[in-house]
């Protein structure tokens, strides 16, 4: 295996953080302490982790409504994210954005986005910045299977091809757009092929396999960083939970979900393979698990206790100056 122990531990910790963040967030949501919507990333962790492993703070990502995992992978502090999903004054967006708008520009995280397909054109814009400035930075758009049908996304792909921009379109095919299955909503059923027809390399990988995502992304970044234009990667990784918390999921079977948890847990798959192929042991991972759980619990508890925004904040930051 071509990874250092450090790299493997980091990847694992990232995914475990994601899992804990959303599971604890869910607990809080069900307890009524967390406002807004809660979209779980469970089952898809390997995508965000495998993709962002190739990025520095100077690279860009533009995310979705299901964005917590992307934020964590891109290096946002768990504490600041927790404050934001609780909409507290010291959150990354001072409580004005909330779960669906976490952004951290110092980290190259250009925002979760509550408009399906909204972030693809923005990612293309960040790629334009990279190209215009002559850097080798890349810009990633995360796009759901549902979002893959949105006109903005097709336009973004075409423009990236035409301008040969260092943009990478990462499709997170988790099987559903809200309650609607991908086999129904996606014309050809083949998201990657559709992207490929725009004239860019198009990969399709198992999104529950960290290493598969990592490999595809290694190729993609090399291509994009060297000025050859955009790439797309379709990652298939069914979600474990409903569209958002509160979705009764009457449209899928309990067996489907049980099977996913048992056989397609990206974190377990990672762990098993790494233990089989490297010197890392169960206890190495158990230690990370414990540390991560404590870390996330603490961040969430602190966030829950943190001060709310002041009423006057309602009126600030609409413009820099306006008069």
């Amino acid at each position: 295996m071509d990874f250092s122990e450090q790299e493997l531990k980091t990847a694992y910790r990232t995914m475990r953080h994601m899992r804990n963040f959303d599971e604890i967030g869910r607990r809080e949501f069900m307890a009524g302490t967390l406002p807004g919507f809660m979209h779980m990333y469970c089952g898809e962790e390997a995508i965000g982790a495998g993709v962002c492993a190739h990025l520095s703070d100077e690279d860009y990502i533009a995310s979705t409504h299901r964005g917590h995992g992307h934020c964590i992978a891109k290096g946002c502090a768990i504490e600041d994210m927790a404050l934001e999903i609780f909409c507290r004054q010291d959150g990354l967006c001072h409580g004005k954005g909330g779960s669906m708008h976490i952004a951290d520009l110092k980290k190259g995280m250009l925002g979760a986005n509550a408009i399906v397909g909204g972030s693809a054109p923005l990612a293309v814009g960040a790629a334009l910045t990279a190209k215009t400035r002559g850097t080798d930075k890349v810009s990633i758009a995360f796009i759901g299977d549902g979002a893959s049908n949105q006109g903005t996304v097709f336009e973004a792909m075409n423009l990236a091809v035409v301008l040969k921009l260092p943009a990478i379109f990462v499709y997170e095919n988790n099987g559903y757009a809200e309650m609607t299955g991908v086999d129904y909503h996606c014309g050809s059923g083949d998201i990657a092929a559709r992207a490929g027809a725009f004239g860019m390399p198009a990969h399709k990988v198992d999104g529950t396999d960290y290493f598969a995502v990592y490999e595809a992304m290694a190729e993609a970044t090399q291509h994009a960083r060297s000025g050859k234009g955009p790439v797309s990667i379709e990652c298939i990784a069914p979600r474990w939970y409903g569209h958002f918390e509160g979705d009764p999921q009457s449209y899928r079977t309990k067996e489907e979900i049980a099977d996913l948890e048992k056989n397609r847990d990206p974190i377990l798959l990672f762990r098993d393979r790494v233990i089989a192929e490297t010197g890392l042991t169960q206890s190495d991972f158990d230690a990370i698990d414990a540390e991560s759980l404590e870390h996330v619990e603490k961040a969430m508890a602190a966030a829950k206790a943190a001060p709310q925004p002041e009423p006057a904040d309602l009126l600030t930051d609409v413009y820099e100056v306006y008069d």
Binding site: P35, G36, F37, C87, R88, C93, G95, K96, G97, G98, S99, M100, H101, N113, A114, I115, V116, G117, G118, G146, A147, N149, Q150, G151, T152, Y176, A177, E178, M179, T180, G181, V182, D183, Y184, H185, C186, G187, H243, P248, S250, Y251, R252, T253, E256, Q308, P309, P311, D313, L314, L315, V318
Partner: protein, 337 residues
Amino acid sequence: MPQMTMREAINHAMRLEMRRDPEVILIGEDVAGGRGCPVDDVEAAGGVMGVTAGLFNEFGEARVIDTPITESAIMGAAAGAALTGMRPIAELMFADFFGVCFDQLYNQAAKFRYMFGGQQGAAMVVRTMIGAGMGSGPQHSQAIYPIFAHIPGLKVVLPSCAYDAKGLLIQSIRDNDPVIFCEHKMLYGDKDEVPEESYQIPLGQARVVREGSDVTVVALGRMVKLAVEAAEALEEKGISTAVIDPRTISPLDVDTILDSVEETGRVVVVDEATPMCSMASEIASMIVSDGFSSLRAPVKKVTAPHTPVPASPVLEAEYAPTAARISAAIESVYAYR
């Protein structure tokens, strides 16, 4: 008379019209719910808010049509179907999403009748969800209807209670022009006496929710009940406040408003939308133009501020007008000399 929530009243209106007229179809994201999914015989969830629940089971996939996430194609498909004789109801899940698809409504459906020289209009309804109060954040909470009202060729309906919602929706479905039917997400659970049978409320007729002789309050959508609350509280202080609910903002029932202003000479307009180029501005400007001789005080607008809707529930509570702010405005125009 049975009690119904606004959610049920809206569902019921569609059901009755779909039974009556085979040309009425429903199209949108998850309006059935669960299409293409492993469980085949699923009870139609009827969208994230359950407003269209059960319609798929009654009317089947030919008339209750789940779509991909593709608002331009949904609105365009509805417009094209209407142009060729159907009566589609298209759902725009959150009105905030109009920005990805507005061309099909404003440049196409709204203009057919005019630019085709009267050959045919688009008899379609767009049902859409508006408003703050659920902690849904800046892109899922807007009261964007002033933009719809600005457009010639569109009609815009803004029901404030279940009874009105049912009668107005039935009317809208039968109307031969495109109607944007704005449902406030915080009103879906509100109950009202609603007849089982079909009835229509004409577009362009305001409802005088409350008579009053000192001050006229024109309130829109969710603001109506807050205005009534404020008016009732002020009764004790001896201020007699009329509350008018226009119910449709395009067309706007100018006469009912002006009649009341003639009596009171004092006006407060309450609107959850942001203030610039809003219905609050429209109504105030109509009054200063056509009711000036009656006016005895400045027209006060109580609206959201010129800001996006914040995600924080604490800030969101400051965002939309409250009964307290409405009361203060009523008292101030009442006291004006």
